[in-house]
């Protein structure tokens, strides 16, 4: 597999949300608007990138039996760094994403890439893999957030399109499931052709 494929696989063919169904908790929880989806996606991308880099560098120094605990400590550290930095310099976004930032620790996507990819590949491949997967995750969350924002509050990226509350259900939890279901179906249909 060359590096271009390595990058693009995360965007569409093996998209973490639409295909691998990883990290669905934040994907469903924070995507009440496009900007929230994007913010969460980028925060996850950063954590994914840093943890993939570190794991791929130290993979040979870690005894296999304590592999998972070590990865968790590494991931949790980067998540806390993101949490603190965001709280200090982007307080409004931090307020929106709130609880979901610490939850990146248990995002299966980050753990999955550390265990499934970075611990078996070199640093360059791991960086590219993290960027592809991270952007794929961010794109999926932004699309889902956008769909929910348009249908639920008639706006996109906070810009109001129609001056009315539309289908309120789309801003609430059920809308996340319905929206994600349709997006997965559309993704499947495109992939088949």
């Amino acid at each position: 597999m060359n590096q271009v494929q390595n990058f693009t696989k995360g965007l569409f063919k093996e998209n973490p949300v639409f295909v691998m169904m990883l990290g669905l908790c934040p994907a469903l929880g924070v995507t009440t608007s496009a900007i929230n989806g994007l913010g969460m996606g980028l925060a996850t991308t950063f954590v994914l990138l840093m943890s993939n880099i570190v794991v791929s560098i130290i993979k040979n120094a870690i005894p296999p039996k304590v592999r998972i605990p070590s990865f968790i400590v590494i991931i949790a550290s980067f998540v806390t760094i993101v949490d603190l930095t965001m709280n200090a310099y982007l307080p409004s976004l931090h307020k929106e994403l709130g609880l979901f930032i610490p939850l990146i620790v248990v995002n299966c996507l980050v753990m999955g890439r550390a265990e499934g990819f970075a611990s078996k590949n070199n640093t360059l491949s791991s960086i590219i893999d993290a960027l592809g997967m991270g952007f794929g995750f961010a794109i999926a969350l932004t699309i889902l957030g956008g769909v929910r924002e348009i249908l639920g509050s008639g706006a996109i990226f906070g810009v109001s399109l129609v001056d009315a509350d539309l289908m309120l259900a789309f801003v609430l939890a059920p809308g996340a499931f319905i929206g994600l279901g349709y997006l997965i179906a559309i993704h499947r249909a495109i992939k088949k052709n």
């Binding site: 009440t32 993979k59 040979n60 120094a61 870690i62 005894p63 296999p64 039996k65 304590v66 605990p69 070590s70 400590v73 590494i74 949790a76 550290s77 806390t80 760094i81 603190l84 930095t85 709280n87 200090a88 310099y89 307080p91 078996k120 639920g152 509050s153 509350d165 309120l168 801003v171 609430l172």
Partner: protein, 195 residues
């Protein structure tokens, strides 16, 4: 792959090194972000205070008092003074009766107990329904301004009070009233009882 063997010493050493490095890194970041985070927090409190109180000129975030309330939680009281005279009291109050999670509000009282203004600090009520308690989302919370809880019954009309509940969000409205009531109780205890 030239993996290290999983001997006890190896595992122990690895975990010690990994956690030590992580702890050092986190300590550094915590120290670096501590000041900006505290500043943000103070800015937020200050903005809320300015919204709910009449003009004041004292260093209000230093003139505070913490009161014990029911449920074992503390609420904070801010005294606003102008030229040394008390012009208002802001009370950071809360309610646990919200539809989802804690509702935190800042209530500004004039010295006679009249509500000057109320600002919502934190809530997790349903978007589109309960979140109408926020200032920007609807005019609902304005009905409290200028009312004195001594003669204004702080309960929703369904419960026999004087407050019109938010349509389809009676629980959120009740929580809001509960928080205002708690603030008024603290106000009475502190101001009327003390003078």
């Amino acid at each position: 792959m030239a993996n290290k063997e999983s001997t006890f010493t190896n595992m122990l050493l690895t975990m010690v090194i990994v956690t030590a490095v992580a702890a050092l890194a986190l300590g550094g970041v915590y120290k670096a972000t501590k000041a900006p985070i505290a500043k943000n927090q103070e800015k937020k409190t200050n903005a809320a205070l300015q919204k709910v109180l009449p003009e004041f000129d004292n260093k209000i975030t230093r003139d505070t008092k913490t009161l014990e309330t029911d449920l074992g939680k503390e609420i904070t009281l801010y005294k606003a003074k102008k030229d040394g005279e008390l012009v208002g009291v802001a009370i950071e109050s809360f309610s646990t009766k919200g539809y989802s999670g804690l509702v935190k509000i800042m209530v500004g009282f004039l010295p006679d107990g009249t509500i000057k203004n109320i600002s919502v600090l934190q809530h997790a009520e349903t978007p589109g329904l309960g979140d109408k308690m926020e200032k920007g989302k609807s005019e609902w919370s304005k009905q409290f301004n200028g009312k004195n809880p001594a003669e204004f019954n702080l309960s929703v009309s369904k419960d026999g009070g004087d407050v019109d509940a938010i349509t389809a969000a009676t629980i959120s409205s009740r929580a809001y009233c509960d928080a205002v009531k708690r603030a008024y109780k603290a106000f009475k205890q502190e101001i009327k009882g003390g003078e």
